[in-house]
Structures are given as structure tokens and as C-alpha cells.
């Protein structure tokens, strides 16, 4: 097996590699989920792994999210390191009691005697005409819960490195993938290239406005920054990579430099990730702000099915650019 990683692989394949390497490295790691073995996953993220590791390490489950998430919690408490795939984030809702009331609480309620070293992977996001019930972005829901860690990778490199960090972490990690990014290609790291949680990255440097964006919105923000650069507006794009813990220091440092901030996430505006980032920025950077923090979110409606409406409801590069222009706006003297 080659030891030097390929220079350009898909986000999907980066995730597969992370799991393959961790399955090889640690016999306690196993995968569990609907259609992940024989069918190789609804998004083919577990392609080839059943043949390689067999049915004791790759467990196909019935359609019973609450049941197998609970099973994973018990396995994790007993010393295994389950990596659970929920077909999409939309199905996490039926397992929410297990996630919030058990996974996130066990270490605390048992006084630290046991922990839940479990990862729950799930793709989310809209844009594929899957209707209001199957188009959620629930980053904010999970980020709300103390006891969980939440990773939202935006690149193949981060997808692999963050998943490996998640699997080795002793606490439950909600690992939110983006359906829209599975085919995205890019460089990836090696078997020991890990990214610590709570460490963001500056995707583009700029001086005029800080754009904080997570997951697929990072790419929307970068496209907006490109548009704005042509107008002489230089944006700094920050990808926090994990929303809990959040790299507030990086965000605050940037905002103190640019004095303007726009936060972007694909979820709804009320009590959302962008709202949370805005609140932190107000607390940390009040005297450095030259304008209110802008927010760009999905429209505050159930996601429409019709293609045009769905596209209109999602944050686009133009929306982000407009929000930046609005924070920088000056009228004639």
C-alpha cells in the first residue's frame, strides 16, 4: 500500500481513507449504519471497506436510528470506538434523545467514570431538490449542546484530518459532512496529519471585512470574496472548521483588524451559527466594530422543493457580497 497520499482526491474519498487508516490502526474502531456495508453507503463513503475489514468491523443496521445510536453509545462506554453513519442529518432527528440525553451527558452524569468515544457522521445541506424534510442544516442544533464536539469540514484535507481527530477523541463528536462537497477534490494529508479541534484556518487574507463561514459556505464566501476583490474590497475568509469548540481567537483577531464582520451559514437565521458568531464578535470586538455584524443564512422558511425557489432560499455568493457591501457602505458626504 502506498504511503504517500495522492495530491488530489475527493472529499468523499478523503473520508474513506480516514476511516480505513483508523480501522487499520485501532482494532476498537468499527463502523455502523444503514446500507454502509453491502451497499457501500448511500453516498459511497464506505466504498470497499466491507471487503477489506469484514462484517464485524462494518455493521449494517436496520432503519432504527435511535436504536443503533444507542447501541453505539453502549459500545463506546464499553471501550470500543464506534463510527456511526446516519444516512443524512435529517435522520438524526429521530435519534436526538440518544445524542442529546445520552451521548452528550454520560461523562458528566457518571462523574467522569466513563466517556463516549463515538463519532456520528452525517451529511447535510440542501440544493438537491430533496424537499423540506430532507434538506436540513442542523449545525446549530448540535453546537448548542454542551458535551458534544462538532466538526464541519469544508475541504478534502480537513475532512480526512478532522475525521481522524474525531475518531481518536474520547468524547462524542458530531461530524457534519456536506452533500454538496462530496465530489470536491483537493490535496489531503497523511496518516498522522490531524487537525486539533478548535483551530480555524484563514482561507483568504484580507483587510476590509472578515467573513466567517462554515462547511460548504466557505466556498460561497470565497466566491464572494473574489467578486468583491474586483471592486477593491478585500475580505478575509475564516473557516472555523469546528463550531464547538470555536476558534474565537482567530475570528476576533481578524475582526479587530478589519473592523467589519459577516457570518455565513447554511442553516436558518434564528439562533443560528451566524447569530452565535455575531454574538461572540459583539462581546469580544465591540470597540473595534465599525458596522453591525452582517449575517447570511438560508431563508427563514421550510426549504422549497422547486429548483428555482430552493436556489433562491440558499445563501449565494451574491448574497454574501451584498452583506459585505452593506457593512462597508458609506453614503455621500
Amino acid at each position: 500500500m502506498s504511503t504517500s497520499p495522492p495530491t488530489s482526491v475527493s472529499y468523499r474519498e478523503a473520508l474513506t481513507q480516514a476511516m480505513r487508516e483508523e480501522l487499520q490502526r485501532d482494532p476498537n474502531v468499527f463502523l455502523m449504519g444503514e446500507d454502509i456495508g453491502l451497499f457501500e453507503g448511500s453516498f459511497k463513503v464506505t466504498r470497499g471497506l466491507l471487503n477489506e475489514f469484514g462484517p464485524t468491523r462494518l455493521v449494517d443496521t436496520p432503519i432504527s436510528e435511535a436504536g443503533f445510536v444507542g447501541l453505539g453509545i453502549g459500545a463506546a462506554m464499553s471501550g470500543l470506538r464506534p463510527v456511526i453513519e446516519l444516512m443524512t442529518v435529517n435522520f438524526s432527528i429521530v435519534a436526538m434523545d440518544q445524542i442529546v440525553n445520552n451521548a452528550a451527558k454520560v461523562r458528566y452524569m457518571f462523574g467522569g467514570q466513563v466517556s463516549v468515544p463515538m463519532v456520528i457522521r452525517m451529511p447535510g445541506g440542501a440544493g438537491h431538490q430533496l424537499g423540506a424534510q430532507h434538506s436540513h442544516s442542523l449545525e446549530a442544533w448540535f453546537t448548542h449542546i454542551p458535551g458534544l464536539k462538532v466538526a464541519c469540514p469544508s475541504t478534502p484535507f480537513d475532512a480526512k484530518a478532522l475525521l481522524k481527530t474525531a475518531i481518536r477523541d474520547d468524547d462524542p463528536v458530531i461530524f457534519l459532512e456536506s452533500e454538496g462537497l462530496y465530489a470536491k477534490k483537493g490535496p489531503i494529508g497523511g496518516a498522522e496529519d490531524l487537525i486539533p479541534f478548535g483551530q480555524g484556518i484563514i482561507r483568504r487574507e484580507g483587510t476590509d471585512c472578515t467573513i466567517v463561514a462554515v462547511s460548504r459556505m466557505v466556498w460561497i464566501a470565497l466566491a464572494a470574496a473574489e467578486l468583491l476583490a474586483k471592486e477593491g474590497i478585500h475580505c478575509e475568509v475564516i473557516d472555523p472548521r469546528t463550531t464547538r469548540p470555536l476558534d474565537l481567537e482567530m475570528i476576533a483577531t481578524s475582526v479587530r483588524k478589519t473592523n467589519h464582520c459577516v457570518a455565513v451559514d447554511e442553516g436558518w437565521p434564528e439562533c443560528g451559527l451566524a447569530a452565535n458568531i455575531a454574538a461572540h464578535v459583539y462581546e469580544q470586538c465591540f470597540d473595534w466594530l465599525d458596522a453591525p455584524v452582517g449575517r447570511v443564512n438560508a431563508a427563514d422558511v421550510p426549504m422549497p422543493y422547486a429548483h428555482d425557489l430552493e436556489q433562491a432560499a440558499l445563501p449565494r455568493a451574491d448574497d454574501v457580497a451584498q452583506a459585505v457591501r452593506a457593512t462597508l457602505a458609506r453614503r455621500e458626504r
Partner: protein, 428 residues
């Protein structure tokens, strides 16, 4: 709260002109209501509100703005403080004296001043719009921090952000206007508007110089606690010395009485450097020299050229230097650098027949000397009532860094030097 941006109303449109607002600034609008007419390169179009709320107009009728520029905000129902210019209604209800100040303050509902739990306050009686003169300055936190750092009063700064908010750029503009260092090639005095006609009843936009003076004088009056000391000084012998020098050195610039006073201030201040101590945010700063500002009236304003290190100059040198500085102020050739860094100012209104006056400190200076007219007055001199040429000196000082006894000693020494003026010319 959302921004209404200049929409792209045709494929080729790049900018639009605000033709008219169909609803007044500050009124409530319903989502879908037509609120503004915009002229594009093709046609005039009507634009609807994208949400319900209170309209805050950003772009005014006739403004030409690119696509995407904010033209209005549609906000929550709470009325935002409006800019003073548009706050005409409440202002007209107040009786105003001849000097433009209100004769009496409007009565305040007693509920507002009573203390107690917030629930005891009837919300309906709370002031929902700013009272006259009580307009809150709308400024970004950064603009406030910057202004505080530079001792700038925001009330005089023109806001160009959304809703008229004062933003960083406005503070920077105001600060640059103050120091004039950003445009050294241009004379700092060349700010008089093309039309200098003063017509009764007119409102004249202030020049940059006038705005700077207004801002700095307000700051000084509001932040530096002034105290004043007065002393009548016998200038008879000083004037004799002056006449003598004019005869003895006809080829040199003959010193004026003001030059003699300047020289006396220079000597007194070099002997007592703490008299010029400046207050700077809990630190007392002793200046590096006696840099004397000379207040010079120019067309519709005032400038203060600086005679640097006056303590190192002879009287004749002071006379030549101040003559040159004042000439350059009058013909507009003074540079910004020559208007900075004074540590005490001498202001003389004697030529206008003023006997005495008190001057406002010129920040960051801690002292300013106001000189009245020198004229014959009956005084007691050597136990007899005689006619001597007298003048009154008034020292204004910053009580944060200078105290009464020190100030009195300083003014006393200045008087002594003027009254026994040979010391002033010793190093001729």
C-alpha cells in the same frame, strides 16, 4: 433590520438615480408597498419594500448610486434617533432667546426621573423619540473608541455610514482636517469657500478651518477646567525700550510690544517649565521647550503659527521670526508644520481697543495669555498718582496640571520682566 439596496432594474443598468421617496423617512412601510421611484438608464421604476418596518432613508432624492449600494434601511418599529437637521418639529416648540438658546427646557414627564423598578415606568410615557438637544450621537463603537483616543468630540463629526452613522472613516476625516498633515502641499488656510458673502438669515457651511476651530474649542472648554488670573502691568518702560531699539537698530525688524511680551513669556516659562505642564490621561507632560503660539486673525477664522524654542531666541530674533510667521499667515503661505506643537499661546486684542479678555486654552496647551490694550491710565506709582501706560494680562490655565499659586508666580514673573525690560534685551 434589512438594507434596501439599489436594485438592478435592467440588464444594462449600472447605476440608478433616486427620483422620489413615496413615503417619508421614518414612517412605517408594509412589505410590498411601493416606496421609492428610481430612474435607470431605461426607464423610471417603482421599487417595493421587501419587508415591513420603519423606513430609514439613506440615499436622498437626486442621489446617483451604483447597483448594490444601500439606499434605505427597513428596521424594527422602534424609531431611530434622527439627525438634528430633520428634527425640526420638536425644536420649534421651544421658546428661543435672541442668542438661539432655549429660554427654558421642555418639561420632562415626572415618571422618567423617578427611580424605581423598571416595571414602574409606564412605557407609553418613556421618550420614544429624542428630545430637543438630547439627540444621541449615532456612531460605531470603533468610531467612538477612535474619537476618545484622540480627544475628538463626535457631536461635530458628519456621519456618512448607513443611517448617518459616524464610522471610522468619518473620524479619520475629522482628525485629518484637524491636523492638516495629510495635505502638506496645500496651505491649511485655503479653506475659505468661494462665496464669502454674509447675508442675514443665511446658513453658511463651515470651512474645514472653521470646523476644526469649533471642534477644538468645544473640546477644550469641555475637558480642560479653566481658571484665570489677571494682572495689570506697567508697560511704560517696555515701550521706551521698544522705541530705543527702533532707533538703535533701524536695519533690523523692530520689536513690537507683543514681541516684548513674547520674550517675557519665553524667559518666565524657561525658568518655570512646570507652568507649561500638560495633562495627558493621568500623566503630566513637561514640554521640551517654550514653543509660543501667536494667535493671528485671518479671513473668517483664526490660526496660531508657532515660534519654536522662543526661549533660545533674542528679542530681535523673536521680532523677525514672528513678523515672518504672521506675514505668511496673511498671505496663505504658512505650512501645516508651522501651525503645530505650540506649548503656550499669546493672544492680543489690544489693537481692537479691548482692555482685558479671557481666552480659551488651545489644546493640548495648559496656558494661554490674553493681552489687552496698553493705554495711559492713572496709577499709584512711588506714592503718587501718575499717568502710566498700563495693560492687563489675563492668564487662562488648565487646572488639571497647573495650580493657582504656580500660575500666579508665572504671571507675576512675566509682569516683572515686562516692567523691568532691560533683562529682555540683555542678549541683543
Amino acid at each position: 433590520m434589512g438594507y434596501l439596496l439599489m436594485p438592478k432594474l435592467s440588464d444594462t443598468m449600472e447605476e440608478g438615480t433616486i427620483l422620489s421617496w413615496l413615503v417619508p423617512d421614518g414612517s412605517s412601510v408594509e412589505r410590498g408597498q411601493s416606496i421609492v421611484e428610481i430612474e435607470t438608464d431605461k426607464a423610471d421604476m417603482t421599487v417595493e419594500a421587501m419587508e415591513s418596518g420603519v423606513l430609514v432613508v439613506i440615499a436622498h432624492e437626486g442621489d446617483v448610486l451604483p447597483i448594490g449600494a444601500p439606499i434605505a434601511q427597513i428596521g424594527d418599529a422602534e424609531p431611530r434617533p434622527v439627525t438634528p437637521a430633520s428634527n425640526e418639529e420638536p425644536a420649534s416648540n421651544i421658546p428661543v432667546g435672541d442668542d438661539g438658546t432655549p429660554n427654558e427646557l421642555p418639561s420632562i414627564p415626572s415618571e422618567i426621573v423617578t427611580t424605581g423598578p423598571p416595571s414602574a415606568l409606564p412605557i407609553a410615557d418613556a421618550p420614544s423619540s429624542p428630545g430637543p438637544g438630547g439627540d444621541r450621537v449615532i456612531a460605531s463603537p470603533l468610531a467612538r473608541a477612535l474619537a476618545a483616543e484622540h480627544g475628538l468630540q463626535l457631536s461635530g463629526v458628519h456621519g456618512t455610514g448607513p443611517g448617518g452613522r459616524i464610522i471610522r472613516a468619518d473620524v479619520e476625516d475629522a482628525l485629518h482636517g484637524a491636523s492638516s498633515t495629510s495635505a502638506p502641499a496645500q496651505s491649511p488656510l485655503s479653506t475659505t469657500p468661494a462665496s464669502s458673502q454674509i447675508t442675514p438669515g443665511s446658513r453658511i457651511p463651515a470651512t474645514r478651518l472653521q470646523r476644526t476651530i469649533a471642534r477644538r474649542m468645544s473640546m477644550s472648554a469641555q475637558t480642560a477646567p479653566h481658571f484665570t488670573l489677571q494682572r495689570d502691568v506697567d508697560a511704560t518702560r517696555a515701550l521706551e525700550v521698544r522705541a530705543d531699539l527702533t532707533v538703535r537698530a533701524p536695519d533690523r525688524t523692530s520689536p513690537t510690544l507683543n514681541d516684548i511680551i513674547t520674550r517675557a513669556v519665553a524667559i518666565a516659562a524657561s525658568e518655570q517649565p512646570e507652568a507649561l505642564a500638560q495633562w495627558d490621561d493621568d500623566t503630566i507632560v513637561i514640554p521640551d521647550g517654550v514653543h509660543i503660539g501667536l494667535a493671528v486673525a485671518v479671513d473668517r477664522g483664526l490660526v496660531v503659527p508657532v515660534l519654536r524654542h522662543a526661549e533660545q531666541r533674542t528679542l530681535i530674533e523673536i521680532a523677525a521670526a514672528s513678523h515672518a510667521l504672521i506675514s505668511r499667515c496673511r498671505d496663505n503661505s504658512i505650512t501645516a508644520a508651522e501651525l503645530e506643537g505650540s506649548t503656550i499661546t499669546v493672544s492680543n486684542l489690544g489693537m481692537f481697543g479691548i482692555d482685558r479678555f479671557t481666552a480659551i486654552l488651545n489644546p493640548p496647551e495648559a496656558a494661554i495669555l490674553a493681552v489687552g490694550a496698553a493705554r495711559p491710565r492713572p496709577v499709584v506709582h512711588e506714592n503718587a498718582i501718575v499717568i502710566r501706560t498700563m495693560m492687563t494680562l489675563t492668564l487662562s490655565a488648565d487646572h488639571r496640571s497647573l495650580y493657582g499659586a504656580e500660575g500666579a508666580r508665572f504671571l507675576g514673573r512675566i509682569a516683572e520682566l515686562i516692567e523691568a525690560p532691560f533683562g529682555l534685551v540683555a542678549a541683543l
